[in-house]
């Protein structure tokens, strides 16, 4: 009876969307560095830690207010306790273990053995409780029992909690962890030197009445102070033999120090690029509405520069290390990920359809563009794809991959040439309007609900007063462009005005559209 209740309860929790969503929410909040609200929790906890340590320091010499004392002893402790419980809860799923066991046993037509499930639960939960960070968390709650004066010192354990909240500490630890073997060797070497020199110095000096080294502890203290090259000078050997030992320890100390420094430096040098890459990927994960440019060759470089002038977010992927370095030097975010491989997009942790505005395949090589386009299409059918085409014979292959827009430079040159000789004035003007460097520009202004509230039709816009030419209106309802619309043309949400004028006047006109308050 109880057994079936437990199993039913576990199934209920496992399938309850509300319960799982809440658990996932807390998991993101406490453990997922990519979750946007986690940093606020981290900052809050770090503040609590500093308040707590501040109170401890203050009360050493000065009395503190009662409310501060209670806040420090109870409120902060309770918050930390709640955090401890939440971490304990999200670390592993009890219901999942029970469900797994039940399914395993029923699959084998056995009676459900809950004992095994409980054993596994205990094992998993204890493994969490005995982890270093969980122990620190637990000790940080101890100041709650402030009547026991000694336990108040446990406030210092709250400082250790900083490791949990500051990512840089974790990065530092992970960097040093890569040299675990080297550090271990160094530690063994230093321990042997300390042990041997401590024993030697004790043997040489302990029986000498004028020597300050009288106990083994003093010998060990002297060895550590000397080998670390600190050398306080409060404890020094005075016998001839003792000084010989000191010479050996000093030389060993220099070696230990040099070795340690070089280990730390080399660990950082080796991991620096990786650390930067992790940071870049984290930043990309949070980006929205950005262009993903695949390949950073000539045309891509120019496109990226032009798009960046429109203040657009751009991420560049290229499998060529030199081009990635060039992109970084040009001040853009670039990763040495091959854009034709699924793995590259997985590493970025992005939702292509929601976060990416368009993917531009700008390799000056059709093979790479087809490969990239196919990879992208296998991930998303919806994302807007634009590709360069270098050889017209490959057009069908690119079309087959589902590219939305193909740009074929040779064809463009042919068309441009024809217009140049056929309609030179139109060409000149359109080129001028399109050019980034021109003073007179053609711009699209979106009609919003706010604008409609103030301007009902085209005649009310008053663009002439702002020295702006209204070329036409693109109506959302008909998806058509209406050149030189009559004054009665109604404005609707989602329409676009196409205006020509000096940049500064267009901006003023746009401001006028957004700020005017209707006077009826």
């Amino acid at each position: 009876m109880i057994k079936s209740l437990i199993v039913d309860g576990a199934y209920f929790l496992q399938t309850s969307k509300g319960y799982q969503a809440r658990k996932q929410f807390f998991k993101n909040l406490l453990e997922n560095n990519k979750y946007r609200y986690k940093k606020y929790v981290d900052i809050f906890m770090i503040m609590l830690i500093f308040v707590s340590v501040g109170v401890l320091i203050r009360e050493v010499k000065y009395p503190i207010h009662d409310y501060m004392f209670y806040f420090n002893s109870y409120i902060i402790s309770i918050i930390f306790f709640i955090e401890y419980l939440l971490r304990f809860w999200i670390h592993s799923s009890v219901s999942k273990i029970i469900v797994d066991r039940a399914e395993h046993d029923s699959f084998l037509s056995r009676e459900v053995n809950l004992l095994k499930a409980f054993k596994k639960i205990l094992k998993v939960k204890f493994s969490y409780m005995f982890s270093v960070s969980a122990i620190i968390d637990l000790l940080a709650i101890m100041p709650f029992f402030h009547e026991l004066r000694l336990l108040r010192l446990f406030i210092l354990f709250r400082v250790f909690k900083l490791f949990r909240y500051a990512n840089s500490f974790q990065t530092l630890a992970s960097v040093l962890a890569t040299k675990k073997f080297e550090f271990f060797t160094l530690a063994i070497f230093a321990s042997v030197v300390i042990f041997v020199s401590s024993v030697l110095i004790y043997v040489m000096e302990a029986n000498n009445p004028s020597s300050p080294i009288n106990t083994l502890f003093e010998a060990v203290y002297w060895s550590i102070v000397t080998i670390s090259t600190v050398g306080y000078g409060d404890v020094v050997p005075i016998s001839y033999e003792g000084r010989v030992v000191a010479i050996v320890v000093i030389i060993a100390g220099i070696a230990v120090l040099a070795f340690t420094t070089s280990l730390v430096v080399s660990a950082f040098t080796e991991k620096l690029d990786e650390i930067r890459e992790i940071k870049t990927v984290e930043d990309i994960t949070k980006l929205k509405n950005f262009y993903l440019v695949c390949g950073y060759e000539d045309v891509a470089q120019d496109v990226v520069h032009k798009l960046s002038k429109h203040h657009k977010n751009i991420i560049i992927l290229d499998d060529n290390l030199e081009r990635v370095a060039k992109a970084k030097k040009d001040g853009f975010t670039a990763l040495n990920y091959p854009p034709g491989q699924l793995e590259s997009y997985k590493k970025l942790h992005i939702n292509i359809e929601k976060q990416v505005k368009a993917i531009l395949c700008l390799y000056e090589n059709d093979v790479d563009n087809v490969y990239t386009a196919l990879t992208v299409r296998s991930l998303s059918k919806e994302v807007f794809l634009l590709s360069l085409l270098m050889e017209n014979s490959n057009r069908k292959k690119l079309e087959f991959t589902g590219i939305n827009k193909i740009v074929y430079p040779q064809e463009l040159i042919g068309l441009v040439t024809r217009e140049l000789i056929g309609q030179p004035v139109a060409f000149e003007i359109i080129h001028e309007l399109r050019s980034e460097t021109s003073n007179v520009k053609i711009t699209e202004l979106a009609i919003t609900q706010r604008i409609i509230e103030n301007f009902v039709n085209v005649g009310e816009l008053g663009n002439e007063a702002y020295r702006v030419v209204l070329l036409g209106i693109h109506k959302k309802s008909t998806k058509r462009f209406y050149f030189n619309p009559i004054a009665d043309t109604l404005l609707e949400n989602g329409d676009f005005l196409l205006v020509i004028g000096y940049n500064v006047f267009i901006k003023e006109f746009e401001q006028h559209l957004h700020t005017k308050v209707r006077n009826d």
């Binding site: 740009v407 040779q410 217009e419 309609q423 053609i442």
Partner: protein
């Protein structure tokens, strides 16, 4: 003055595209290649040329001064050399050159090309406009490539135009339905946007050119109303 022949210097993928687009515009179009092997090409009629500055053979065939030349050699240095030698020999020849980058485009302009198309920049401009200004890009594209009836035309103010001696700002353009005047080009070919402070005070004189946007029928109507004619002068380009 309309040019009668087009000479394409260089045989490559650009030459084929240019040939495709200009062959109906000129009485005589010919491709010249610097590589002798290209002459054997079955599909296109190709003649050989070199950079020795000896154009006599070509001169016997066509009136070079009354031609348009496309310098599209893939080697930038050779292309610049070709442009400079054509300009040195023929003052009135219209030269259009293709450059990979803006830097080379400036060199080609210095070498005497009337117009230079920088490949990378042009492609990048088009891609950026497609992405950032899709509506204006499609409207302008349709005007340029004659996919809509909308046109940009230049109307020269004639002797009998009643706009003559009027200040640009005083003209009520709303009388001319369906037409938008974008800019005015002075006789010295400098162009001013219609709302620029300089253009506002400008007094229209004979020879000024108005650049207008409109449908073909409206442009014709406008021409009739103001007593001026459409004007095409493509030999004076400014980039």
């Amino acid at each position: 003055m309309t040019k009668s022949s087009a000479l394409i210097f260089g045989f490559n993928k650009y030459a084929i595209e240019i040939l495709k687009n200009v062959k109906n515009e000129y009485d005589y179009v010919k491709i010249y290649s610097i590589n002798e092997e290209d002459i054997q090409n079955d599909e296109y009629e190709i003649s050989h040329f070199d950079l020795s500055d000896n154009w006599q053979e070509m001169e016997d065939e066509i009136d070079i001064e009354n031609s348009i030349a496309f310098c599209i050699l893939e080697d930038t240095a050779e292309n610049i050399f070709l442009t400079i030698s054509l300009r040195a020999s023929y003052e009135n020849l219209s030269i259009i050159a293709i450059a990979s980058h803006k830097e080379n485009a400036n060199k080609l302009l210095m070498a005497g090309a009337n117009k230079v198309i920088p490949l990378v920049e042009t492609t990048a401009d088009i891609i950026t406009n497609m992405l950032e200004n899709p509506i204006s890009n499609s409207v302008l594209h349709d005007i340029l490539y004659e996919k809509s009836d909308l046109k940009i035309a230049q109307i020269k103010i004639g002797k009998d135009s009643h706009f003559q001696d009027e200040e640009l700002a005083n003209i009520n353009w709303s009388h001319y339905q369906g037409i938008i005047v974008l800019s005015v080009m002075h006789q010295d070919m400098s162009s001013e946007f219609i709302y620029s402070s300089k253009a506002k005070r400008h007094i229209i004189t004979e020879g000024d050119v108005l650049v207008v946007v409109g449908y073909e029928t409206d442009i014709k109507e406008f021409e009739k109303k103001i007593g001026s004619n459409r004007y095409v002068n493509w030999s004076n380009w400014s980039w």
